[in-house]
Structure formats: C-alpha cells, structure tokens
C-alpha cells in the first residue's frame, strides 16, 4: 500500500492502563522526533499536550470475549485512522490486537512484554511472537527460553 512520503515516522503506542501505561511512559524518550499517537484503555491519561493524539479503546482480556471484539473493532478504526508506520506496545491484549491489525497495513511492529512477566511471557506476548517484527522480554532468562529478545528493561 503506497503512503504519501512522510518526513518523520508516525508511531502508534498501544498500552492498557496501570503498569502497561507507566512502562510506555518510560519509553517516551525513544519516540523523540516522531509523530506519536497513543492508544490507551484509561481515558484519564489523555491530559496535557498529548491529549489530541490519545485514542481510547476498551480494556479486555481472554475472559471477556465480547469486550475483546469491541476492542478489536475500535483498534481497527484507530489503526486505519492513524495509519502508523510503527506500532509499539507494552501490552496487554489490545497491544497484540493492534499489532495484528497494523501488520495488515504494513506497519513495523514491536511488542515489549511487561516487566511483570518475570518467569514466562504473557499470553499476548506469546501470540505476538508469530506476528510482530520484534518481541522483547525484559528478563534475559525469559527471552532465552521463549524466542523473545532481551534488550534491556524499564527498571
């Protein structure tokens, strides 16, 4: 799919609330110079100068199939609207879905599993392994046994 030539990459940063969001915040310096859009489950994060580029999607997990479907539809709309060059997610389920969708429009995708997953990958990260360009674990031992990469951590 041909896109108009962009001078700087458009990033869609996807994260659930709580720890996923806090970890995304810590990655912010890596986005300097790019056009960053945030997709989040917690509408209260949409404050300050980022507000215009914050998109809210419903929180869901494997135990809430209906919400998961709503989440998928909403994320599809966000992905089509933002048309990101790059999708980066710190989880959880919505991050995987966004990455799956973004692959369909040819975006580069990276899933960074939460540092909370110290002994094994989350289900979302495991699913992302077959889909995302890069799947990172924040624990060397977890990376070793799963095929994810270890490239550092937020703490």
């Amino acid at each position: 799919m041909l896109k108009p030539k962009r001078t700087r990459p458009v990033i869609l940063a996807v994260s659930s609330g709580g720890g996923h969001w806090v970890q995304m915040q810590r990655l912010k310096p890596a986005f300097a110079g790019a056009e960053v859009h945030y997709a989040v489950t917690d509408a209260t994060t949409a404050t300050g100068k980022d507000a215009g580029r914050v998109h809210v999607y419903p929180d869901a997990n494997k135990d809430t199939p209906l919400r998961l479907l709503l989440c998928l539809v909403r994320l599809a709309w966000i992905v089509l609207r933002v048309r990101p060059d790059v999708v980066v997610s710190t989880g959880a389920a919505g991050g995987f879905l966004a990455i799956r969708l973004a692959r369909l429009i040819g975006a580069r995708t990276m899933f960074i599993d939460s540092i909370a997953n110290a002994r094994e990958l989350s289900i979302s990260a495991r699913l992302a392994l077959g889909v995302a360009d890069r799947v990172l674990s924040q624990w060397p031992r977890v990376a070793e046994i799963t095929g994810a990469e270890y490239r550092g951590a937020v703490i």
């Binding site: 209260t44 990276m110 540092i115 110290a118 094994e120």
Partner: protein, 180 residues
C-alpha cells in the same frame, strides 16, 4: 497518610480487609485506598473506586507508605518517587487474578530497596506495625529513573522507530503479506 492501591481491574479484598482490620486499632493513621472493583465497604479506611492518572500520582506523592498488590504501575512509580512499598501478590487460587504472575513479580521486585513483600493479612499487620514503629522511615535508596537497563532498551526502540535495523527486523513488509 498511607496510600493503598489494588489497581482497577479485579477486586483484592484480602489486602483491603487486612488493612481495614489493622486500621481499626490505629485510629490516628489515615489510610486512603484505591479499591478498584471491590464490592465491599470498609469501616476504617477511606476508599475510592478509581483514581485518574494524575490523582493517583498525587496520592502516591503525598503518602508516607504505599501498600499495594504487585502491579507494575505502582511498583515503578513508587520506586521513582522513593516511597516505601509493601506488596501483597494476588493469588489465582483465591480468584484474585487470572494467574500467579504477581508471585513471579514480587520474587524479582523484592530486591528493590524500597520494597517489602507480605503473603497474607497477618504478615501485613506485622509489617505495618514495624513500619509504624520506625515512624515510616524513608526508604534507603531511591531508584534512578535512568538506569543501566533502560538506555539499551530506549536505543533499540529508537532504532526500530527510525528503521535502522542493526540486527534482525528487516523484511517486515514481506512477512506482513504472508501473515495477512
């Protein structure tokens, strides 16, 4: 003020009840809890169901002690602010979470100098007593925002964003077509 939080997704009454029963005999101690999805009411602690991101950080900043489930948002934010933190992991066997990953989290996070881990209400009481007896003494060291693990992670994300593949990660479009 002691600030307690159990996130907003699932109830965690074991922690809140432990806190409430401790507070019953400590009327002078003000405890505010983000109780999330809990359906109970508590007599000795002040609860709010859900705080905005800004209000959450404000409470965290105010607190002399933080008591929480093993949620990474709280752990990272408390570490950055240098707040003493008591963690009680949620257990799947009590229906407190979908799995036991919080057990794994606390095993690793226990090494942070501001963190103490408790497994049940009794241990929580003991730890609260000890902390109160110390006068909520400040934690020993403050976790630095820019630590040695963060920089390489930022570097790899930056390279990925600007598509400077030093390593694997090329040919993304090709793979995209295939998996589509």
């Amino acid at each position: 003020m002691i600030f307690a939080t159990v996130g907003t997704q699932l109830p965690f009454d074991r922690l809140l009840l432990g806190l409430d029963s401790w507070a019953a005999s400590r009327p002078g101690v003000h405890i505010v809890a983000q109780a999330g999805a809990s359906r109970r009411s508590f007599r000795h602690i002040e609860t709010v169901s859900r705080l905005s991101q800004d209000a959450f950080l404000a409470r965290l900043q105010e607190a002399r002690l933080v008591v929480a489930h093993a949620g990474m948002g709280t752990i990272l934010s408390a570490a950055e602010l240098g707040k003493p933190l008591i963690l009680m992991p949620r257990r799947a066997k009590f229906g407190e979470h979908r799995n036991d990953h919080q057990q794994d989290t606390v095993r690793e996070m226990a090494r942070l100098s501001n963190v103490t881990v408790v497994d049940d209400g009794e241990a929580l009481h003991a730890e609260l007593d000890a902390t109160l007896a110390r006068g909520f003494e400040a934690p020993r060291t403050r976790v630095q925002a820019g630590c040695e693990a963060l920089d390489p992670l930022l570097e790899v994300v930056r390279e990925f964003v600007w598509n400077q593949p030093q390593c694997k990660g090329t040919g993304s479009r090709l793979r995209g077509r295939q998996s589509a």
